[in-house]
Subunit: 177 residues, 2 copies
DNA sequence: TAGAACATGTAACGGGTTACATGATTTG
DNA sequence: CAAATCATGTAACCCGTTACATGTTCTA
């Protein structure tokens, strides 16, 4: 009857990965980078801290230390319940923070060639990200991805294409010569 | 020769607004919500804390308290230098955090009608945001907006349209219905 | 004139970021 | 075998969020 402890999205994601098998902190870092890194950033520090916190709260259990101080964590029944509660609650509200748009908004204070140089650089970063997504999308075997994984990849591609289209529709004054 | 103190994007934005005239914390909150609120969230608490910090660092100066404990802040020469340094440096790297995509990725753990209900709700939120942007774009006098303001508005519209298109291309299993 | 909304803050917490430490393993 | 890199963490800081307090002005 006790409600399971509330977890944040980072902790919940770790619990999600631990459903399949026990993992060490490092393995979780790698898994997270690979599977959610494109839309949910995290650092090793966070992972180790969350694991300690979740162990204290009984959501995971630490196993025996192996070589190199490596310590596998196993999800508990409480951990599964906490993950499920987080998932059922639906996504928390998206907080949009776009540093580039701050630069654009205050752009009149900048020399116009400096602003357009900054924007061209930003465009290149987005173009590179799009290329990476499309490479994965076309090269890798599609059947290796679940519909859920494919949906997140599609989001990335759709987003980056839209951003590039925005760059290319900027007035000349901002886009540069 | 002394490098100006480094400021974060929130503090820098406040300095940007203070270029025109001295403002109180509350006025800054309103101005920020109105002009950058769509792509840079901030709370009154942050504003008051940043103002105190910047006053201690000599970037702004607090004026006489007026009625209702109201206290106007004026930007200093150091403050202008710090703002300029922040602006010249270009935007910090965008950290993308999309809680909704976490829900999608772990979606196979959810009952499929629950997932599609969540996604339909999210779609409605984005549709509402797009409608609000487009209302501003078509109703308000375009000549009241600088090219910089128009560019950020265009970004919002482009982004929300792309997100809606993504929703509408999801496989039936995720979209429901 | 009582209650609502406005305006101005402080305090505490949560969690993301950065810096640092240290032993294990790999590689030149 | 020395240097680089891997792996595992701790500590401190920064800053966004939430909760709370309090006086002021407006409105029914």
């Amino acid at each position: 009857m006790d409600a399971p402890p509330k977890v944040n999205s980072t902790a919940a994601s770790l619990l999600g990965f631990l459903h399949r098998q026990p993992m060490t902190g490092w393995e979780l870092v790698q898994t997270a980078r690979r599977t959610i890194g494109d839309f949910w950033s995290l650092t090793p520090s966070q992972v180790y801290r969350e694991l300690n916190g979740m162990a204290a709260a009984g959501l995971v259990e630490a196993g025996q230390r192996g070589s190199r101080e490596r310590r596998p964590f196993t999800i508990t029944a409480t951990g599964r319940a906490a993950f499920r509660a987080w998932l059922e609650a639906g996504p928390s509200e998206e907080t949009i923070r776009m540093p580039m748009l701050l630069t654009v908004l205050f752009g009149e204070e900048l020399a116009s060639d400096r602003l357009s140089a900054i924007l061209r650089h930003q465009r290149a970063l987005h173009a590179a990200r799009l290329a990476a997504y499309e490479a994965v999308n076309t090269t890798d075997d599609r059947n290796r991805r679940t519909v859920y994984q494919q949906a997140t990849l599609d989001f990335g591609i759709t987003y980056e294409r839209a951003v590039l289209a925005w760059f290319d529709r900027l007035p000349r004054g901002l886009r540069g010569g």
